[in-house]
């Protein structure tokens, strides 16, 4: 029983991080109908930014409240900028081209980032994983029995942050002027442009929000698993993408549900079945969901206009 509870907590903790990354995929897909393969790698860059900031702050300052806020701000801001640059120079010129072109570009950026960061030339960090500093002193938030079940402060914290961000995002999309513009662009960006909506700006801002979210998620991830490596983006990104597709890509609550589902399923497969089959299970679920419900659990397949 205690074990089950612990698995549940682990799974939720993993799921919330997937969810935050998945939200970025879903948002970008919503406005551009583009699978931003580079999303996970943007996240990785954000984590390295946070890592560098933490170092610059030094051992003492990085643990203060202000220090943590600063680390998050730098990483999220830096990533928003990176997202903006990628959108501006790599995706925008391709907006009217076939969708495949943008997809290939996204894959190219993903490669350039994840492998570029493995170089040890100049400021690039090199391939070896590094320990992420404990910017949040881990303390036990809840202990049941003789440490049978342990819940840590950062687990609660990341859950709260994740939920907060999701609610915020939902509010942004459905209750604000900007959200309305986003939805209009998502529906048909050409028509939206004709209606006087600044399409370029809406898409750019969406990208920036998505990238900033990714950086935040990445930092929570790094705090959780205490290490940073250039390939982390590929792994987490892929899983988050799977989660977004399972939930129905383009659908905000769907992404969250898909991510939590994936986190829990992975946890339980490892905990109770064969841990060696975990990655196969994730993709197996993906394929199954796509076959049964091609639009994902919540998404709808838009009938192609003929």
């Amino acid at each position: 029983m205690a074990q089950l509870l612990q698995h549940l907590i682990n799974g939720l903790a993993a799921g919330t991080i997937y969810a935050l990354v998945a939200l970025g995929y879903t948002m970008v897909y919503g406005v551009l109908k583009l699978i931003n393969f580079a999303h996970g790698d943007v996240m990785m860059v954000g984590v390295y930014m946070g890592y560098a900031t933490a170092f610059a702050l030094g051992r003492q300052t990085q643990k203060t409240f202000l220090g943590v806020v600063l680390i998050f701000l730098v990483a999220m801001g830096g990533c928003a900028l990176l997202g903006f640059l990628i959108e501006r120079f790599a995706y925008r010129p391709l907006r009217e081209k076939p969708r495949l072109t943008a997809l290939i570009t996204a894959i190219g950026i993903s490669f350039a980032l994840s492998y570029g960061f493995q170089l040890d030339i100049g400021f690039l960090p090199g391939a070896a994983p590094r320990a992420f500093p404990e910017i949040i002193q881990p303390t036990e938030w809840l202990v049941i029995g003789d440490r049978d079940v342990v819940v840590w402060n950062w687990q609660v914290m990341s859950l709260l942050i994740a939920v907060g961000l999701m609610v915020g995002l939902q509010w942004l999309v459905f209750k604000t002027r900007f959200g309305r513009a986003m939805r209009a662009v998502s529906y048909d960006h050409r028509v939206a442009a004709l209606m006087g909506i600044p399409t370029d700006r809406v898409i750019a801002v969406t990208f920036m929000i998505g990238s900033g979210l990714a950086a935040g998620a990445g930092l929570l991830y790094a705090i959780k698993d205490t290490s940073v490596s250039p390939l982390m983006g590929l792994y987490v990104g892929l899983k988050a993408f799977v989660a977004a597709v399972i939930g129905g890509i383009g659908h905000v609550p769907g992404a969250v549900v898909g991510a939590l589902l994936l986190g829990l399923v992975e946890e339980f497969v490892v905990g109770y079945a064969a841990s060696t089959w975990r990655d196969a299970v994730a993709f197996g679920i993906l394929i199954l969901v796509l076959l049964v419900k091609p639009g994902g659990l919540f998404g709808r397949v838009a009938a192609e206009k003929v």
């Binding site: 495949l100 490669f111 493995q118 064969a274 990655d279 196969a280 993709f283 394929i287």
Partner: protein, 353 residues
Amino acid sequence: METSSVPTPSPGGLPPALRGILPVLIAVPVLLLFDRLLASAPFATYLLSIMGVNVILAVSLNIVNGMTGQFSIGHAGFMAVGAYVAGVLSLSFKETALSFLPVAASDQVFLVVALLAGGAAAALCGFLVGLPSLRLRGDYLAIVTLGFGEIIRVVVQNTDAFGRALGLSGIPQTSSLAMVGFWVFLVVLVARRIAYSSHGRSLWAIREDEVAAEAMGVDTTGYKVRAFVVSAFFAGIAGGLFAHFVPIINPGSFTFVKSMEIVVMVVLGGLGSTTGAIVAAVFLTLLPEALRSAFTVMGAEGSLAQKVDQIRMPVYGLLLVALMLLRPQGLFGMKEIWEVLPRWLPRRRKGLA
């Protein structure tokens, strides 16, 4: 590749039954001669073999990604299936030979059988992946093929018969340059003949407009599945060849990164252009080698030459981005080299004048 320039249109005045296989009849002795000439240069042989395998992979992927306009990024998965099936077969028949043939010839027979088995297994996987998932649209298909590649890796890693993480080693090194060349030649021939047949036109039609193709009576799902099967078959063959000259295979050789390398080749060459895929595969295989040699000759021992390997993958990424921005149709677009070159040459001459 040395075989690529053999054009498909066959000369007239031949017995029609012979015409279909004439290029093969010409190619085989040429390849054998080539093989003999390079017998004393193992490195050239190895490099050309790797190049040949890459050409087979690129040309076969081009059938799906280029001609049919689908986007598969799990080609290394099919390659792995072929490599493992052929490898396991060869390992278990290592001690066996055909009584009525000299040993060398019998080895070649076994190699071909193993390759065909690997190809068939890969084709079956292509069918299984293709059948359900081709109903999905482009980007979803991409992710399913990617997932397929990952599942293959997990399966191999958990199967003792496939050597798990260590992989298979001690596979007989029976592959030769002639054998690789022959398959390169075959895949090019098949790709060209498909492209110029009514089947190829149906594939092009699907690439151009799936809805319209369907409305014009093209069984789009069927054609897509068949394109996948043919493509996977040759990827399996490439894997089998790979297994027989490296001659060790392990899951690390067939990752997502390998799939992406093949995609880069196809995109660089031009989606839909067989010769483009060949040129790009040759170029990208030789480029690191050439740079390395250049650095070594220049005396930058070690450091710079190693940087070549380091920066290869990020450069591939940037290359893809730059290509999509500047020349999204790739080197040759949908055209073949002989359709494109004449148009380039006069322009350059004009530019010089």
